[in-house]
Amino acid sequence: MPKLQQRSAACRDFVVRVTCGLAIALLGQSSALALTAEQTRALTLGDTDARVTALQKALASPDAPTAAFLQAMADDAVKVNGTQVLVVRDGKATDPVSGDATTLPDTAEDVINNNRMRGEIDAALSALQLLSPDAALRVQAAKSVLKEPDPTKLAMLEKAVASETNEGVKKQMLLARAAILLNSNDADERFASAKTLADSQTPDTQLLLNQRLSQEEDKKVRAQLQTSLLTIQAALSWGEKLGALFTGISLGSILLLVALGLAITYGLMGVINMAHGELMMIGAYATYVVQGLFRQYLPGMFDAYLLVAVPASFLAAALVGAVLERLVLRHLYGRPLETLLATWGISLVLMQGVRSIFGAQNVGVENPSWMSGGVQLLANLSLPYNRLIIIGFAVFVLVGMTLLISKTRLGLFVRGVTQNRPMASALGVNTARIDTYAFSLGCGIAGLAGCALSQIGNVGPDLGQNYIVDAFMVVVLGGVGQLAGTVYAAMGLGLMNKLLEGVAGAVLAKIAVLVFIIVFIQKRPQGIFAMKGRSAEA
């Protein structure tokens, strides 16, 4: 469990910071009551209502052990044995009140926090940071209060506002204050809050205003709520549009990755490679295996596993491709339709092979931690790292492949051999070798696609089946043998699919895209990048 260890290490770090922060902040407050065993019991046992009440009570007079204990609860590190409450980290139990080590009884059970409880604890923890010396933490705390504005936090917030010197932070805090006062009994206060909140253009604020709106009776306040909501909506609509664009590009990049390998094996070599999807599957399983090996042998470097998985997935798929080429496809050049039959057979065998080895169920591939999260561009637009990385990866593969095919001698031979095998041979090209290289390259790129897919979707025996139709559509729509066409087609279909999906829903969008393909081909019977002139017929 290397990942967990790391995580708990990080948590401890956090606890220390929080505790110090509190210690300093609370220095002057002699009235602070220490955490009692009674309190820990109230916080952990009983129904959620009772626990929430206890939590609020504890929050009224927080001290460092309370904060540490809450953190332990948030980390699911609290167990109970009968009425004894224990904090258990890394298998070692401590008493939350005294902080002394104790023994961990076998009968100890986990304290289960449901969503509501977890939400309350998180909110409490972050509220505690309102007085943290770190401005960033204070902003975060204010934001979290805004998200869960509950009146019990008002006192603490007021105190924080009073002592706040940083304007930016103060503004956030005032917003949070407004969020709480939005539900005040005083209509004027509600009105003022609603007005203030128009400045906080986030979906969270929108939710608050909407919630208020649904119960607001006062006309004036209602009107202000609506005005504020409109302001926010206007601000957010940009994010939505850009978000839709981004999802389209992201889908396009995936389609591109999925199609690039096929652009070689099919587009250039003319092998109707129905096993293309299964080669992606092999790449994905290679990623899975590499991940497993890292977990077992190099847990400390788990986050780096992708660096190995990328070449591994390429090699694994390329190797399988080479074997297939040597054993089967070699005999089928010039008979493209028969490659359909043979590769269909190959795909059945590969799929069942994976079922036999890894089982029929999906296997889990974890993202490295640097791939989770995203950049927050606007309040409602965050671009997930894994999507961004995949877009970058697609560009990388595309550029690499383009250079290889168009600029190198190997690429020239590949193009020559795939166009006229006997003639290339008569000119001194070892066509057998080039064929193997070319096919392996296509397969390897399929493997890379599989590696990328493992980061966002299933890794299972059916992985390939889900993408094969799309892959062919992209390659053909772009114009067979036209790399640039493949890029356009992938991006076009991706964007179109996503823009339509926003309007018509996923099913109709997909249907519309398919119909579009049919109609488009009528206009361009050779794909987007049709080759014109005589060479197209040759």
């Binding site: 979906p203 999802t247 029929a360 169920q361 993202n367 299933n458």
Partner: protein
């Protein structure tokens, strides 16, 4: 014959193999166990395993073969509703016996089928009740998200009627469907986010099969946290989560009648047995990380009840076994004593709501006070009120 033949009709290839293969192994395990204890009526059980390959007409054909050629006494099989619908006319015509172990949409009651999975009222409705409760987050707005086929459509129809009966307005319900195998949930998740700005929102997911992993990965990606917008799923269990990094999903929910994490002696034993069996048979995936789930439990209950019924009937004759099934009880791994309804061919089941934990297991956060009787004809669908709660003679 000196053996009793048992048909196993689960897809071992094709799209459904992901889910169904393990049910085949569960049946085989139960058969081994029964045989080790001396079989049924002094005879050993002999499994006849076929692969209907996720192909619905093939399900019907294989059923004909199992009943007609192999003369099996009972069939354990099917996962998708459409496969069951395909098999149904055949088992009825040939008077066979089918045990169906998966939660489904109801609206069906056949004399020749025993439904050991949940009807909507044994899964979907309690789950919504929970989400409406304070502990569940007191959701006011609902996204009903499913794969575009009959089980999700029906379930959502029932839920919509139910929600309306609880005063939820139509504008607060957003029904969305994706095609089978849909793998890009960016737009959907963005839409959910947007929708959730309009009020406390919960998502009821009836996404089935392969789409779950990309959906959950996208949820994690988009930072949609359970405490903000909880997602409750009816087709996501331990096995489905095997393929997902669950850390970002902690707190999202599933409603089932069994979780692997349930603490009960019967479950401990069930898990132990399965682990040992998986190891012994080298079942890929499970030999390293054995997992159990709701349909496995339902399968296991089904075959054991069938055995008891045969023993009670002292015969494998289908009609006699059907009669003997009524009121059978079995100490289910879920910790309750599971009872086959006297009339309606469905099990009485407890409903559990579990929250996903970081290790891919579920924390049970809520459960029904006791077993719930199935209502295959949902009262929330017009015209069902008059339906008899037992198979009609044809």
């Amino acid at each position: 014959a000196d053996t009793i033949k048992v048909g196993v009709l689960h897809s071992l290839s094709g799209t459904m193999a992901i889910s169904e293969t393990v049910l085949k192994d569960t049946v085989l395990m139960a058969i081994d166990e029964i045989n080790a204890k001396g079989g049924v009526l002094g005879k050993k059980l002999e499994p006849v395993v076929v692969d209907p390959a996720s192909n619905w007409p093939l399900f019907a054909e294989k059923t004909k073969q199992l009943l007609g050629q192999d003369k099996v006494s009972v069939i354990f099989g099917c996962w998708t509703s459409v496969s069951r619908k395909s098999v149904l006319p055949v088992v009825e015509e040939m008077n066979g016996l089918l045990f169906y172990p998966v939660q489904y949409e109801g609206e069906e009651l056949s004399k020749n089928v025993f439904y050991t999975g949940a009807a909507p009222n044994q899964q979907a409705i309690p789950a919504v009740d929970y989400l409406m409760s304070k502990d569940g987050g007191a959701a006011k707005r609902w996204v009903l998200l499913g794969t575009d086929y009959v089980y999700p459509r029906t379930t959502n129809k029932i839920l919509r009627a139910y929600l309306k009966s609880k005063g939820v307005a139509d504008k607060d319900i957003d029904e969305k469907y994706t095609p089978f195998g849909h793998s890009d949930y960016q737009t959907i998740v963005a839409d959910i986010k947007k929708f959730s700005a309009g009020g406390k929102t919960a998502v009821v997911s009836t996404i089935n099969g392969d789409s779950n992993v990309p959906f959950y990965k996208e949820l994690g990606n988009a930072g949609l946290k359970a405490k903000d917008v909880p997602v409750v799923a009816f087709s996501v269990g331990e096995e489905e989560l095997r393929g997902v990094d669950t850390k970002p999903l902690v707190g999202h929910l599933a409603a089932w009648n069994y979780f692997m994490s349930i603490k009960s002696p019967a479950n401990d034993e069930f898990i132990k047995k399965w682990s040992a069996y998986a190891k012994a048979k080298g079942i890929a995936g499970h030999k390293d990380k054995p997992l159990t789930n709701d349909p496995m439990e339902a399968t296991y209950i089904g075959i054991n009840m069938w055995k008891q019924a045969v023993e009670k009937a002292k015969s494998t004759d289908v009609d006699k076994v059907i009669a003997a099934m009524a009121g059978q009880t079995f100490k289910a791994p879920s910790g309750i004593v599971s009872k086959m309804d006297e009339k309606n061919h469905h099990l009485h089941k407890s409903v559990f709501i579990g929250e996903i934990k970081a290790d891919g297991q579920f924390n049970v956060v809520w459960k029904t006070p006791g077993p719930v009787k199935a209502k295959p004809w949902s009262p929330f669908i017009e015209g069902n009120a008059s339906k008899p709660d037992e198979p009609v003679k044809k």
